[in-house]
C-alpha cells in the first residue's frame, strides 16, 4: 500500500501528461485525381520502409488500365505494376518502397501521368521507451533463465537474478521518469500553425485555343506570390490537392481534381460543350498558409455543341429565400439511403452568386464515427443531404449539389432567386 501511494504521489507530483507520441507514424493518403477525363480516388495506405505499399484506386464511371510506379524524391522508380481500374468500384495493388522520406506515386494512363506525393515516415522510439520496454523484456528473459537454474545447485543462478534486478530497475526508472521527458520532435518539417505563407498565384494555360466540342488540356501553374517559385506545399484538403470548379456559360459545373505532374504544375483535361466564357475556381491549401480560392477564366471559341441541360438527379427543398438569413437547403437524391461519402463528405454544395461575387463550396459532414471517418466504400448515408447557407445579397444564384452513389457522382443543379432582406433585422 505504501508503494502504491508512493507511486501515485510521484505521478501526481510530476503532473504533466505523458505525451510521448509514439503511435503509428503517418496516415493514409486519400486524394482525388481527375486523370484524363476520369475521376479517380487514389488511396496510399500508411507504410513502413522497407516494405510494401498498399495502393487502392477507386473508379467513378470510367474504367481502364493504369501503370503505377513509386519513386523516391529525385530517385528512380523502385517498383512498378499495372492496375485495371473498374468503371465503378475499387481496385488495389501493392508496390514497394525501400527508404524513408518523400515519395511520389505515379499513375499513368498512357497519355497523362499524375504524381501523388506521399511520405514514408520513420517511427522514432524515444530512448525512455526503449529502456522501459527493453528492461521489462530483459527481466522476463532473465526470469525464464533463472527459474530452471534456481532448481539446480550452484552460483550460476545469481547471474540471471542480478540481471532481473538491474533490468527491472532500469525499466521502472525509465517508466517513472517518462512523464517528465519531453517528446522527441515530430518528423513533420512544416508547422501546423499559420506561419503567414504568402498566397499562391494561378496561371491557366491551354494547349492551343480551346474550341467547343474538342478535348482541351488545361495546365494550372501555382506560383508563390512572393518568390514566384512553383508552389509544392499543397496539402490534401477535403480529399484533394486542388479542387477545380469549371462553370460553363450555360451554368454546367465540372468539379474536377487536376493531377499533379510536377512541382506546382497541375493538369486537367476537359471537353467544353459550349462556346463562351468559362469561370474557374481553384481551391487549394498551402501548408501553414490556410486555404485559398484562386479564380481564373477561360475563353472557348467555336460554336456551342449542345446546350446545357440542368442535371436533375433529385429535388431541392429550400426554406424562405431571403438575403442575410440562414436558410436550410436540402438536396433529395431520392431512392434508398445509400449515399457514399465523396472526398470525405456526404454532400457538396457549390453556390455561385450575382456577378460571381459569391463563390462558395459547402459540405455536409459525415457524422463522427468511432475508429475514424468511413471511406467511400461505405454506402449508408441518407438520400436527403441538408446544408445551411446565408445568401449575403439578393439576386440570382446557381446551386449545384453533389453526392456519390454507386461510385458515381450525382449532381443536382438549380437556380434560386434571393429576395432582399425586408428590413426585419
Amino acid at each position: 500500500m505504501r508503494l502504491l501511494l508512493a507511486v501515485v504521489l510521484l505521478f501526481v507530483a510530476t503532473g504533466s501528461p505523458a505525451l510521448a507520441d509514439s503511435g503509428p507514424v503517418g496516415a493514409d493518403v486519400v486524394v482525388a485525381q481527375t486523370l484524363g477525363e476520369r475521376e479517380l480516388t487514389v488511396v496510399v495506405r500508411r507504410v513502413d520502409a522497407p516494405g510494401p505499399v498498399q495502393v487502392e484506386v477507386v473508379g467513378h464511371g470510367v474504367g481502364g488500365g493504369l501503370r503505377l510506379r513509386v519513386l523516391p524524391a529525385g530517385g528512380r522508380a523502385t517498383s512498378e505494376t499495372a492496375l485495371d481500374v473498374p468503371a465503378v468500384g475499387v481496385a488495389d495493388t501493392r508496390l514497394s518502397v525501400d527508404r524513408f522520406g518523400a515519395w511520389e506515386l505515379e499513375l499513368d494512363d498512357g497519355v497523362d501521368a499524375a504524381r501523388v506525393p506521399f511520405q514514408v515516415l520513420q517511427r522514432v522510439t524515444p530512448a525512455w521507451e526503449r529502456a522501459a520496454y527493453g528492461g521489462f523484456v530483459a527481466a522476463g528473459a532473465f526470469l525464464l533463465v533463472a527459474l530452471p537454474l534456481a532448481a539446480r545447485r550452484g552460483w550460476v543462478v545469481w547471474v540471471p537474478v542480478g540481471g532481473i534486478v538491474v533490468s527491472l530497475t532500469v525499466a521502472v526508472t525509465a517508466a517513472l521518469l517518462s512523464p517528465t521527458i519531453p517528446a522527441p520532435s515530430t518528423v513533420s518539417r512544416v508547422s501546423n500553425s499559420d506561419t503567414g505563407r504568402p498566397p499562391a498565384n494561378l496561371v491557366v494555360t491551354t494547349d492551343g485555343a480551346p474550341v467547343a466540342g474538342r478535348p482541351t488540356a488545361v495546365e494550372l501553374r501555382f506560383g508563390d506570390s512572393g518568390t514566384g517559385r512553383p508552389v509544392d506545399d499543397l496539402l490534401v484538403h477535403h480529399g484533394a490537392l486542388v479542387h477545380l470548379e469549371i462553370i460553363s456559360p450555360g451554368g454546367v459545373l465540372a468539379h474536377v481534381h487536376p493531377v499533379r505532374v510536377a512541382q506546382g504544375d497541375y493538369r486537367v483535361r476537359f471537353t467544353p460543350r459550349e462556346a463562351g466564357r468559362y469561370a474557374l475556381g481553384a481551391e487549394i491549401a498551402r501548408a501553414g498558409g490556410g486555404s485559398q480560392l484562386v479564380r481564373a477564366e477561360l475563353a472557348v471559341g467555336g460554336t456551342t455543341v449542345d446546350s446545357p441541360e440542368p442535371s436533375a438527379e433529385g429535388r431541392v427543398e429550400t426554406g424562405a429565400l431571403v438575403a442575410n438569413r440562414p436558410v436550410q437547403l436540402t438536396a433529395d437524391f431520392g431512392g434508398a439511403d445509400d449515399l457514399q461519402p465523396w472526398l470525405g463528405m456526404r454532400g457538396h454544395l457549390f453556390i455561385v452568386g450575382p456577378g460571381e461575387r459569391v463563390w462558395a463550396h459547402l459540405h455536409a459532414l459525415t457524422p463522427a464515427a468511432a475508429g475514424g471517418q468511413p471511406d467511400e466504400t461505405v454506402a449508408a448515408y441518407p438520400a436527403r443531404v441538408p446544408f445551411t447557407f446565408t445568401f449575403p445579397e439578393p439576386g440570382r444564384y446557381r446551386l449545384w449539389f453533389q453526392a456519390e452513389r454507386d461510385y458515381r457522382i450525382r449532381t443536382i443543379s438549380t437556380v434560386v432567386d434571393i429576395a432582399a432582406d425586408g428590413g426585419a433585422r
Binding site: 503511435g23 522476463g140 534456481a150 539446480r152 532481473i164
Partner: protein
Amino acid sequence: MAITASRARGLPAAVVLLTGTVFSLIGLTWDVQWHSDVGPDTFFTLPHLFLYAGSAISGLAALTAVLATTAAHRAGAVPDPSLGGPPIRVFGRAFTAPLGYLVAGCGAASFLLYGLWDQWWHGLYGFDAVIDSPPHIGLLLSISATLVGTVVVFGAADEHRWGRIGALVSLAVLGAFDTVIVFAFKSLNGQVNAMHVAMAALMVLVLACATAFTRYGGVLMALGLAVIQAVTWWFSPWASRVYAEAVGLPMRDYAGQEPQLPALIPMSLVVVALLVHPLLTSRSRWAAPLAGAIAGGLLAGLQRPQSSWVFDGPLPPLQRVLLTALVGAVVGLVAAPAGRRFGRMLRLAGDRTPERN
C-alpha cells in the same frame, strides 16, 4: 517435521505472489476503465505500470520460492509438496522446482516477453488499439498462467487454513481477471452471444473447482468475487477520474460512471452458487453436469439483462437471450465436471503421496 514450523513456512512467498496478481487485477480494471473513459494512451500510464509491476512481483516471488526450495534441498530437506505444489523435474535433472511457483514464474516471464510484441503492435496500429489484439491476449493469458500458478501454490497448502482461504481468494482473482479474456469471444457474437457463453463457462469452471476443492468453496469463492466486483466497481471509475485529473487529460464526453470490467462479472453468481451447491457436492454421477447446465444456462441468460440494466440499454429479443442461455447450459454441462476435476487435482497438489487417491 514439526507442524508449527511448517504451518507458516510457505506463507510469505505465497502472499507476495498473490499480491503481485492483485496488482495485475487492479492494473487491469483500471486500464480498461481508462481506455473507455479517457482514452489517450502511452506505454506508461499508471495502470500499465501496475500490470507490469504485478508480473514483476509475482515473477520475483516465484523465483525466490524456487531458490529457497533448492537451498532447502541442498541442506538435506525432503521436498515438501505443500510448499508450492508437487515437485517437477527441471530439464531432467535431479533437482526439482515446485509446480505452482514454476507455472507462476513462467507466466510472469512470458508476460514480460510479450511486452515486446505489444510494443511492435502498437507501433503498427497505434495506441488506443482494441483490447482483444493478439499481443494483448498473449499478455493476459500470461497473467492467467501466473494466477493458475498462484491457485496451485495455495491449493498445495490446503492442510492449513491460509492455504484454503488463499486458494479461494486466488480463484476469485482468477475469475475476475479472466473476464477480460472473455472479450476475445466478442468477434464470434451472432444469434448467440459468445461472450456471455464464455463468461458462463469461466464462472462454472471456477465455481465447480472451488466447490470440489473445499467445503462451501464455491459459495465462498462467489462471495469473494462479489467483494472484488464491489471494490473495483467503485475503484476503477474513481481511479481513472483522479488519474486523468492528475495528468491533465479530459474525460470523454460520454464517459459514464459505469465500470467496464466489473460490470461483466455476473451479479447472480452468489445466488447461482448457492442454488447448485447441493448438486455440485452430490456424489451422483449426473449431479455435476446437471449443476453445470443449470448454472451455465442461468449465468449466460442473465448476462444480457445485467448489462442492459447497468448500461441502461434495451433488452434484446427474448429468443436470443434464451438461445444464449441454452448454449450456456450446454457449455456448463461440460465445464462443471471439468472444474470438479481441477478442484480434486488441486486437493492432491499438496499430498506427499498422490498415488493413494
